[in-house]
């Protein structure tokens, strides 16, 4: 079973709960934790897992054969990501960081002066500890397209999938393409939130997204005693999504977090029970 841990807002406890849930589920099952917060992956830090690189994530980019280039400017005109600049009577200047690898320049070059090459945009790591296997994707810094790294991680995980009872996808914050890519892979999404107006605001965005993607969702209310629980309860009712666990705010959790230790709590056992 593939489950996403998501939530919209940052810092609500996604990774804390994903790692704790992995620890809990491992007691009776074979669990793979997949860190697809590729912008800032942290699950290996919380679980203190030494990761080994298993794959480079590559992306197609263009390469120019200047002998064939007639400086016509077509490539820079068709490029929608502004990765190709051209001054009249000069060869095109390519900015690889901005390139999304769409091939529009390659396919539209009238003299076939552009061919395919590759750039590295990220890495996939694997590590193991306490019976938990971890796959962790990491975007190369200054590369913009997190979604491609998430796609590559999904492909990598699909080859291992049969070995596991549970695959937990820990997503990044927000609702954009890299989160969508991860959610699309899952049968269930756990939205971790907190009872603050910001938590409510971002949770509603995630619930709307889940509806569009047709992925069933459940809510975990973290730090349920710090604000106004009613806010989340009303939203859950409005969207007909169940709150499956409430986790108290305890200074002990915070301290464990700042020391990179997974938390253990009755509420985590409850989540494990409710997702079966």
């Amino acid at each position: 079973m593939k489950i996403a841990i998501t939530g919209g807002k940052g810092g609500t406890g996604k990774s804390t709960i994903a790692t704790a849930l992995a620890v809990e589920l491992t007691k009776k099952n074979k669990v793979l934790l997949v860190d697809v917060d590729v912008d800032c992956p942290n699950d290996h830090i919380i679980l203190n897992i030494d990761r080994k690189k298993v794959k480079d994530v590559m992306q197609l980019i263009p390469k120019w054969d200047l002998d064939k280039c007639v400086q016509c400017g077509t490539c820079s005109q068709v490029c929608k990501t502004n990765s190709i600049a051209q001054i009249r009577d000069k060869y095109p200047i390519f900015i690889p960081e901005q390139c999304s690898g769409c091939k529009a320049c390659i396919l539209s070059c009238p003299t076939k002066a552009i061919s395919e090459t590759k750039k590295e945009i990220g890495k996939i790591y694997f590590g193991s500890k306490h019976g938990i296997d971890l796959v962790s994707g990491e975007l190369k810094l200054n590369e913009p397209i997190s979604e491609f790294v998430v796609d590559a991680v999904k492909e990598y995980v699909n080859n291992l999938e049969k070995k596991y009872d549970y695959i937990l996808y820990d997503t990044s914050v927000g609702t954009h393409c890299d989160v969508i890519s991860a959610l699309n892979e899952c049968e269930l999404a756990i939205a971790v939130t907190e009872p603050t107006p910001l938590g409510v605001h971002d949770l509603e965005l995630i619930l709307k997204l889940l509806k569009i993607l047709n992925v069933p969702g459940k809510i975990v209310l973290n730090r349920c005693n710090i604000g106004n629980e009613k806010l989340i309860q009303n939203l859950a009712e409005k969207h007909k999504v169940e709150i499956i666990a409430e986790i108290l705010y305890k200074k002990e959790f915070l301290e464990r977090y700042t020391k990179a230790l997974p938390i253990e709590d009755e509420s985590i056992r409850k989540i494990a029970e409710r997702i079966k």
Binding site: K9, G11, D39, C40, A104, L141, N142, L198, L205, T258
Partner: protein, 302 residues
Amino acid sequence: MKTIVVLSGKGGVGKSSIIASLALILKENSKIVVADCDVDGPNLALVLGIKKFNETKGIEAIEKAVLVEKKCNSCKKCLDNCVFSAISWNNEKNKPLFDNMRCEGCGTCEIVCPENAIFLKKVENAKVRIAEKPFPIFSGQLKVGESGSGKVVFNIKQMAGKKAKEIGADYLLVDSAAGVGCPVIASVSGMDFAVIITEPSPSAFNDFKRATTIVKHFNIPFGVIVNKWDLNKDFTKKMEKYFQENDIQVLEKIPYDKKFVDALVNLIPIVEYDKKYRKVFEEIIIQINKEVKNESDKISQK
């Protein structure tokens, strides 16, 4: 005008809370414009307690491929050349099927189509809400399920920048999304100074380092604010050693205080909720101004 971006790498470290109070204090003695570029989850207006927006505008920052079915000869060239897996094949109709959520609007399908059966159409993928009080604020919101957040950020920064010029603002403040991907790169690009917020946890510190790489890539001077610094004093010490070794200016250390949560729950910025925090934020502004001035002196010396 000074342009300042606030980012953090890790989410939930207090970015919006801090920028809201920073803006309120700045506003007392100078003209400011603020842009909330966390377009996935724009929260700044909420934290500031803004309930009424003067204006809402749609943003068409992306294009999507559209098929003219009559012209399509079912050659599948579009399917074969889409690197974003945005095209699948509808066997029943023997025509391509476009997945709008995955379409990046790159135009490759339009280029390869021999029958001119595909064209690109501008799509509204975001909205920007504009309020005038307590200062001009532009709050971007990506439509749920839409792509192109980087381009939306670029648009919002442009609008806010224009407004700042019009009113002769002293500061333009940009609130960036978490992470280090496309919307963050778009937020950071072209700014004069960056404030990176972190907290004493291995995760936040790791993400802080990732965020600095983005800022350094654009050659932007930056300083760090350590929020909730006393939650793990040993770790803060370790971080401070790193800051010192790497010549990173600590703008402020803010202690953990439940009042921040209470202020947030009540939608009142902390400097208004508890006036004793005014001093903390005044100090941050003094530090930022000092850093920005140092940098411009360095440049003029060169």
